[in-house]
Symmetry: C2
Subunit: 239 residues, 2 copies
């Protein structure tokens, strides 16, 4: 039997404050819960509202549809809600490229960027404190299982950038075209905020400004930060 206190705990995890406090986060949907389990993440509890689903998840707890709806962030709960332990963020050494995000605010963008890091084998993602929380449900929905394979750290970027001895590339509208820019073997790629790009504060640490050439001629808008990251990571890896 699920207790009122347990329900209250799960509901509280909708807020970042309580996620950090308890070291727990919620994902919903059979597929996503399975992906995190496959990736080796430790589940705290798995709730299902159907006997068929209960058989699919070892040690899951059967609750009523009403209770699941109470715990869920979705308008139409999917029948499976997993509560997972957060991964520790190890201080990895930097033997490869590191992606740095400076105040990326949109959960869909962060989710897509995590998935891209996974695809391109980037193991380390460093986010400014004001970047959207990677355990936000909308981020998790967009990352799929990738969240388990990329080491994500929230920190003061100035401190981090000051210490690295790798070249620091920043994505700018008026940077040097990336095609000719002879990227290093390893380095740091800084992507900026959706509306304002890389902040001046972080900009001081950039050793090379790069850009994605535009072919249309008339666009005033920049590329979305997630699509720009896709193109730049591809440029880094294609060599």
């Amino acid at each position: 039997m699920v207790t009122k206190n347990q329900i209250k705990l799960v509901v509280s995890l909708k807020q970042k404050k309580y996620r950090s406090q308890h070291g727990l986060f919620v994902v919903e949907g059979e597929k996503l819960v399975n992906e995190l389990l496959d990736a080796g993440l430790k589940s705290y509890r798995i709730f299902v509202d159907d006997v068929g689903l209960a058989q699919k998840f070892e040690r899951s707890e059967l609750v009523s549809g009403k209770t699941l709806k109470q715990m869920s962030s979705l308008t139409r709960p999917s029948g499976v809600l997993g509560v997972f332990h957060m991964m520790g963020s190890e201080a990895l050494g930097s033997n490869d490229w590191v992606v740095v995000l400076d105040a990326v605010r949109d959960p869909g963008n962060l989710g897509t960027i995590i998935r891209l890091c996974d695809w391109f084998g980037i193991k380390r993602l460093v986010c400014s404190i004001d970047t959207v929380d990677c355990y936000n449900p909308k981020v998790l929905q967009a990352t799929m299982g990738s969240i388990a394979r990329v080491n994500i750290q929230y920190t003061d970027l100035k401190g981090f950038l000051d210490k690295t001895d790798m070249p620091i590339y920043g994505a700018y509208m008026d940077g040097e075209p990336v095609y000719g820019s002879n990227m290093a073997e390893k380095g740091v790629l800084v992507m900026g905020n959706e509306a304002n790009g890389v902040s001046d504060e972080v900009g001081k640490f950039i050793t090379q400004k790069i850009s994605i050439p535009q072919f249309g001629g008339t666009t005033t808008e920049s590329l979305n930060v997630a699509t720009a990251t896709a193109i730049l990571l591809n440029e880094i890896r294609r060599g």
Copy 2:
């Protein structure tokens, strides 16, 4: 004074059926309305709920906040609602790359792809009949002004692909790595549905299957169709 019938007309444009019937569509927000006007699109009516905004838009009509809310698709209407005439879709010749979408269903993905076509100077986008409508409000929110600079056509893909004499590239998980694949000067790039990729029916016309190499090693998920399009258009243009 806005009449009841005009309000009814604007509300009806939330549905694709009525958009097609009237040849009209709605965009909301000062920035987006301005972008479409700057891009030369013909407005049918512009409604604002504030005198200050009325002065910014020539021939705009002042309505109450309540009326604007009635016409709006947004939970928090932005104060400016423009009704625009659809662009004609000219049968352009094919002097350059054409992007073809096979049943792309997510409005955000289509919006991002239109913006990418604009960025990379792709003038022509051909969509299967079951691709999401490009005048869907969520698509428009993601395209920004790009919708005015890319010629978008909805048609039976088999008929279109059968007639082209350009090479037809299709994005597949198991295609040839795009880095080595010596792309033609001009051609057709086919991107498939979010869940199922390129359909078998359309697949028959593909002359070369291409893929984006994966570096992570363990990912089971494919890249999102919009980020994959970003990388492939960059590959095409970078030469």
